[in-house]
Amino acid sequence: MLLALLISNSVGNILVERYHGVPTEERLHWRSFLVKLGADNLKGAKNEELFVASHKSVYIVYTVLGDVSVYVVGKDEYDELALAEVIFVITSTIKDVCAKPPTERLFLDKYGKICLCLDEIIWTGILENTDKDRIKRLIRLKPPAEF
C-alpha cells in the first residue's frame, strides 16, 4: 500500500498531502516527520536525486524537484524500489506539466492539472499508471496513444 504522498515547498509548507490507510491522528506525525527528514537531508540536493529511509516497517523515498520536495511512503509490496518507480512517475509528470522543474509559483499555477495527474498515478494507495505520456492524455480524457 502507498501510504502517503506529500509535496511541500522548500521551507516545508505543504502543497499536496494525500494519505491512504493512515489513521487521521497519525497524519500530523507523518507530516512533521517527513518535513523534518527533508529539512535534514535535501539541502543542496540535485534535482531528482533520490533519498531513501525506512521508519519501522515502512519505506520512504523522497527527492527534490525545482522548488518542491516530493515524498512517498509505502509498506509491504511498495518497498524502496517500487517507491522509486512511483516517485519517478510523479516527478517526470510534474516536469512535463510545468515544462521544467517547477518553481513554487509554477507548481501552484498548474495545481489543478497536477492534481489530475496524481489522481491518475495513485488511486487510493495503488499505483495505477506509470507512463507520463499516457497520463498526459488521460487527464484530457483522451485514450492512450497505443490504443
Binding site: I14, L83, L116, W123, E128, I139
Partner: protein, 921 residues
C-alpha cells in the same frame, strides 16, 4: 553611487513569490462555488474554483457536513457541461468529497450514463468514481458492466475496473470473487499494466486456495509477464508457494530455477525481488544463496542510493542468519560507511558488526568512530546495540569496545541514546567480569557531567551494588560524594544511599563515609537529610534502632521481599487514616509474572532499565518467592530454576505451566495456573503428581492454592526429596484438582456450593540438564588453560546421521544445558567440522568447561569428540574427588544422550561409543 539597474526578470521573480492561492479562504471559495449553479456554465471559471477547492482539501482543510453537501450538489450540476477538461475535474472532485450514502443517488444516474458512454475515457473514470462512492446494493446493479470492463479492449478501462475490484474486495468480497473468470482472462492481457493489476486482484481473490495459487504461479512462470511490476508480484507469490510447499530438500527446490533466472532480468526491481526471495527461503543453502549475494554485492556500489539501500538492507537481514555468506561483501560495505545517506551507512555498519571477525574489530571501530559524529541519535542507538552484541560475542575485545562506548558517552546526545550506551556498559560489566572496573570508572566519569537525573540515579544505584565488590572501592567515593554537592535533590538523595551502601559493605571505609554522611545532614532537601539521618543512626547506631550489623544491612539494603506490583496496588488502595499502612498486609504471591513472561518472549535484560528494586531478575524473583514459603525454608540454597514448561495447550480453559526449582536434595515444581473462564472461581487448587516413573523422587509436600479467580494467575507447589547432589531424572504425570464455583458475571457474586473437578495436564520431566547452570566465561582459552589438563576427560562419540552439522551442534548444546562461549554455537554453512566451547556450573558448584569438536564423516554421519575439564573448588582436593565429580558428570552425559534418540541409538544399541580415556585411566 548609482543604484543597480532593475532588470525585467527581477519583476518576474517578485511575481514568482506570489502564490495564486495567497489569502485563500474557505468561506470565499464556497461562495465562488455558486458559479456551478449558473445556467450558462463557464468551464474555465468552474475549473478554477474546483482547483481552489482541491487546494483547500489538500491542505488538510475540512468541510462541515452542510458545506460538503452543498458543494457536492453544486458539482453534480457540472455534468451538464460538455467540456472535457471540466468533466475530468468533476470526477476528481466527487471522489475527494466522498459523498454520503444518501447523497450518492444524485450522481448515480449521471455516472451510470457515463459508464455506458461510447467515449472510453468517460467509462474508465465513471467506473473509478462509482466504485469509490458505491455501496453493496448499487454494486450488484453495476456488476455486469464491471465484468465487461475488466475484459475491455481499452487498457485504461480494464485497469480502472481491476483496481476498483482490488478496493471492493475489502468491502464486498462475495461479489468480487464472482469475477474471477474475467480477471483470469485479464491476466493474459498484452497490456502490461492490465496484467499487473489483474495478477494482484486474482491473487487476492484466490489467496486462501493454495492449489489455485500454485497453479497460477506454475502457469505464469512458464509464460510471459510483461511488466516488471507484475514480475515482482509473481516472484512474491512464487516464494509463498515455495514456503507453503514446505520442502526443504536441497537441489530440487521447486521454482528455484525461476527465481535464479529472474536474477538476470533487465529490470533492477525484478533482480532485487528475486534476490530477496532467495535469501528468505527456508533452510537456504549457500549454493542457493551465492548467486543472490553476488548480484546484491554488485548493487552495493551502484550510483543510485535506492539500489544501495535495498542491497545493504537485504544483506543486513541475511547477516542475521548466514553471517558467513555475507563476508565476501565486507569490503564493499566498508566503503558504504562514508555514504552520504545515513540510513545506508548505518545498515552497512550494523551488517559489518554482525559479520566481522575478531581480527577486524579494531579496524571497524576506527571507521565507526569517525562516522558516529554525523548521524542522528536514532541511528546511533542501532549502532550501540550492535556493538553491545559484538562485545558479548568477542569478550576478549571488551577493552576497545568499552573505550568506544565511553568515548561516545562523553559526546553530545539525547536521553535515549545515552541510556542505550549506559545500558550497554552495564550489561558488559555484568557479563564480562574483566570489564567491571574500567566500566564502573567510565560510568563514574559520565555522572560527573550528566544532565539526565534518571541516568545519574540509576548509575549511582548500580555503583552501590558493584562498587563495594571491587578491589579498591575507595576510588569511587569521590565521584559519588561530588554528586551531593553538585546535583539536584533526587540525585543527591541517591548519592547518600550509595555512600551508605559503601559504608555498610566495606568496613574500612565506614569511618570516612560517616564524615561525609554527617555533612549531608545540612542539606537543603528533606529527603536527603532524612536519608543521611537514617543511615547514620542505623549504621553507626547504639543498638537502639536495630540489633545487629546483619539486621542493619537487611533493613537498609535488603529487598522488600514482596513484588513491587503488589506493594504498589496495596498503596493505591490504602486510604489515609489513623491506622498506619501495614507492609505485612501486602500479598507476597507473584501474580503477574508468568503472564508477563508469556507476553514478552525473548525480551532481553535491559541493563539499568530494570533496576534491582523494580522487577527482579527471574531467578531472584523465584528465590524470593520460595523463601517466603516456610515449608521450603530448610531446602537450602536454590541451585537453578528452569524456564516455564507449558503443561496445557494454548487457549484451553485452564492454562498451566510449570517451573522446576532444583535444590541440593529437593526438587520443587511450581505450577503457574490461570483460570480463563470468567464465570468460574476455582478453590483449593492442587496438582496431583504421579511419580511412579521417577523412582529416585519421593513427594514430601504439596502446597495448594486457596482460590484462583478469573484471569488472575496463581501458584501451587509440589516438593520432592531426592538423593543429595545426585542428578536424579524422571517423568511425572500431573492432574489439576480443584473445586469449581459459579460466579455471577453481573454482580460478581460467587455461589456457595462448588463441585470437585479434575483437569489432565501434560507430563513433566526432570532431565539432567536441569542440574547444569549456564554460566559463561569471558575468555574461554584462559579459563581452559588455567583449569589445566590434570582433570581432563576426553571421549569420542559417533552421533550417526544428522540433518546437518548445525542441527547436531544445537542438539548437543541443548542437552548439555551449558552456555556456548564466544559465539561458537553458530556453525558456518557447509562446514565439515566445527568446534564448540561450552561452560557451566554443575550441581555441587563444580565449574565445568567443555570443548566439543564435531566432524562430518561420510555423507551425514556426525562424530563428536568431547573434552571436559572440571575443577575442584579448593584446587588442592585429591584427584579421586575430582574423578568422582567427573564420573557424576559422565553419568549426566549418558543420561542426556539417552534422551536424544539417534544419539542413544548409536551410543547404546550399536555400541559405537569409543572411550578414549586419555589421561584419567
Amino acid at each position: 553611487m548609482a543604484q543597480p539597474l532593475v532588470k525585467k526578470d527581477d519583476d518576474r521573480d517578485d511575481e514568482a513569490e506570489y502564490s495564486p492561492f495567497l489569502g485563500i479562504e474557505k468561506g470565499a471559495v464556497l461562495q465562488e462555488a455558486r458559479v456551478f449553479n449558473d445556467p450558462q456554465l463557464d468551464p474555465r471559471r468552474c475549473s478554477q474554483v474546483i482547483t481552489k477547492l482541491l487546494y483547500l482539501l489538500n491542505q488538510g482543510e475540512s468541510f462541515t457536513k452542510v458545506e460538503a453537501t452543498e458543494v457536492f450538489f453544486a458539482v453534480t450540476k457540472l455534468f451538464q457541461s460538455r467540456d472535457i477538461g471540466l468533466r475530468r475535474m468533476v470526477y476528481l472532485m466527487i471522489k475527494e468529497l466522498s459523498p454520503s450514502a444518501d447523497e450518492v443517488i444524485i450522481v448515480t444516474s449521471s455516472l451510470m450514463k457515463d459508464m455506458n458512454s461510447k467515449t472510453d475515457m468517460y467509462r474508465a473514470n465513471a467506473i473509478r468514481v462509482l466504485c469509490r462512492i458505491t455501496d453493496g446494493t448499487l454494486l450488484t446493479q453495476i456488476e455486469r458492466y464491471l465484468k465487461q470492463a475488466i475484459v475491455d479492449k481499452n487498457p485504461v478501462v480494464a485497469s480502472a475496473a481491476l483496481v476498483s475490484g482490488i478496493h471492493l474486495l475489502q468491502t464486498n468480497p462475495e461479489i468480487v470473487k464472482r469475477w474471477s473468470n474475467e480477471v483470469q482472462e485479464a491476466v493474459q492481457s498484452r497490456a502490461a499494466l492490465v496484467q499487473f493489476h489483474a495478477l494482484a486482484l486474482l491473487h487476492q481473490i484466490r489467496q486462501n486456495d493454495r492449489l489455485a495459487v500454485s497453479k497460477l504461479v506454475t502457469s505464469l512462470t512458464r509464460g510471459t509477464v510483461r511488466s516488471p511490476l507484475a514480475q515482482c508480484l509473481l516472484i512474491r507469490y512464487t516464494s509463498q508457494v515455495i514456503r507453503e510447499s514446505g520442502s526443504t530438500q536441497t537441489g530440487d527446490r521447486p521454482f528455484y530455477d525461476f527465481l535464479e533466472g529472474c536474477l538476470r532480468h533487465k529490470a533492477e526491481m525484478v533482480i532485487f525481488e528475486a534476490a530477496r526471495a532467495i535469501t528468505e527461503l527456508n533452510g537456504v543453502t549457500s549454493r542457493e544463496l551465492t548467486p543472490a549475494i553476488t548480484v546484491l554485492q554488485l548493487f552495493l556500489s551502484s550510483s543510485k542510493p535506492v539500489l544501495r539501500f535495498a542491497a545493504v538492507r537485504t544483506l543486513n537481514k541475511v547477516a542475521m542468519t548466514h553471517p558467513m555468506a555475507v563476508t565476501n561483501c565486507n569490503i564493499d560495505m566498508e566503503s558504504l560507511i562514508s555514504d552520504q545517506n545515513r540510513s545506508i551507512a548505518t545498515l552497512a555498519i550494523t551488517t559489518l558488526l554482525k559479520t566481522g571477525n575478531e581480527s577486524s574489530v579494531d579496524r571497524l571501530m576506527k571507521q565507526i568512530t569517525n562516522f558516529m559524529s554525523d548521524i542522528a541519535d536514532e541511528f546511533k542507538i542501532v549502532v550501540v546495540e550492535a556493538i553491545r552484541s559484538l562485545c558479548l560475542k568477542f569478550p576478549l575485545k571488551y577493552r576497545s569496545l568499552m573505550n568506544f562506548l565511553s568515548n561516545i558517552l562523553r559526546e553530545e546526545g539525547g536521553f535515549e541514546y545515552k541510556k542505550a550506551i549506559v545500558d550497554s556498559i552495564v550489561i558488559l560489566i555484568r557479563d564480562i567480569p574483566d570489564a567491571k572496573e574500567s566500566g564502573l570508572l567510565h560510568l563514574c566519569e559520565f555522572i560527573e557531567d550528566c544532565e539526565f537525573t534518571y541516568l545519574s540515579t540509576q548509575i549511582l544505584h548500580f555503583l552501590g551494588i558493584e562498587g563495594p565488590k571491587t578491589s579498591d572501592p575507595s576510588k569511587y567515593i569521590r565521584y559519588i560524594y561530588n554528586r551531593v554537592h553538585l546535583e539536584n535533590a533526587t540525585v543527591r538523595a541517591s548519592a547518600v544511599s550509595t555512600l551508605a551502601k559503601f559504608g555498610a559493605l566495606v568496613d574500612s571505609l565506614k569511618p570516612r563515609i560517616f564524615v561525609l554522611l554527617r555533612r549531608c545532614l545540612f542539606d537543603s532537601d528533606d529527603e536527603v537529610r532524612d536519608r543521611a539521618t537514617l543511615y547514620i543512626n542505623t549504621l553507626g547506631g547504639d543498638g537502639s534502632v536495630v540489633e545487629t550489623d546483619k539486621d542493619v544491612k537487611d533493613f537498609l539494603f535488603g529487598s522488600l521481599d514482596l513484588p513491587l506490583v503488589n506493594l504498589e496496588t496495596s498503596l493505591k488502595t490504602y486510604e489515609p487514616s489513623e491506622e498506619p499502612f501495614d507492609i505485612n498486609s501486602v500479598p507476597k504471591e507473584i501474580k503477574s509474572q508468568p503472564l508477563a513472561e508469556k507476553k514478552a518472549p525473548g525480551k532481553k535484560p535491559t541493563g539499568l532499565g530494570a533496576p534491582p528494586a523494580a522487577p527482579l531478575s527471574t531467578v531472584d524473583a523465584y528465590e524470593k518467592l520460595l523463601s517466603s514459603i516456610p515449608e521450603f525454608a530448610n531446602f537450602g540454597k536454590l541451585f537453578k530454576s528452569s524456564a516455564p514448561v507449558e503443561l496445557t495447550e494454548a487457549e484451553t480453559e485452564y492454562s498451566v505451566n510449570a517451573v522446576k526449582h532444583i535444590f541440593d536434595s529437593n526438587v520443587v515444581f511450581q505450577y503457574n495456573c490461570t483460570n480463563t473462564i470468567p464465570d468460574q472461581l476455582l478453590e483449593n487448587v492442587t496438582v496431583i503428581v504421579d511419580s511412579s516413573e521417577a523412582e529416585e523422587f519421593a513427594e514430601v509436600l504439596s502446597k495448594p492454592m486457596r482460590s484462583l479467580p478469573y484471569d488472575t494467575p496463581g501458584q501451587t507447589f509440589v516438593a520432592f526429596e531426592k538423593p543429595e547432589g545426585v542428578p536424579a531424572v524422571g517423568k511425572f504425570s500431573n492432574m489439576l484438582k480443584f473445586i469449581v464455583k459459579e460466579v455471577d458475571p453481573t454482580t460478581g457474586e460467587t455461589e456457595d456450593d462448588g463441585v470437585e473437578d479434575e483437569y489432565q495436564l501434560e507430563d513433566l520431566e526432570v532431565v539432567a540438564a536441569d542440574y547444569m547452570l549456564k554460566v559463561g566465561v569471558s575468555n574461554f582459552r584462559n579459563a581452559w588453560e588455567s583449569m589445566g589438563d590434570d582433570f581432563e576427560r576426553v571421549d569420542e562419540y559417533g552421533l550417526g546421521p544428522r540433518e546437518s552439522l548445525a542441527e547436531a551442534v544445537n542438539a548437543v548444546i541443548n542437552l548439555l544445558g551449558m552456555q556456548p562461549c564466544e559465539g561458537t554455537e553458530a556453525v558456518p554453512n557447509n562446514s565439515r567440522s566445527h568446534t564448540c566451547l561450552l561452560s557451566g556450573v554443575y550441581i555441587g558448584n563444580v565449574r565445568v568447561l567443555a570443548r566439543i569438536s564435531f566432524g562430518v564423516d561420510g555423507p551425514k554421519d556426525v562424530a563428536m569428540k568431547l573434552a571436559v575439564r572440571s575443577e575442584d573448588e579448593a584446587r588442592a582436593a585429591c584427584c579421586n574427588n575430582i574423578l568422582l565429580k567427573c564420573k557424576v558428570f559422565r553419568k549426566f552425559l549418558q543420561n542426556n544422550l539417552r534422551s536424544l534418540d539417534p544419539l542413544y541409538y548409536w551410543c547404546y544399541f550399536h555400541n559405537r561409543i569409543s572411550y578414549n580415556h586419555s589421561r584419567t585411566n
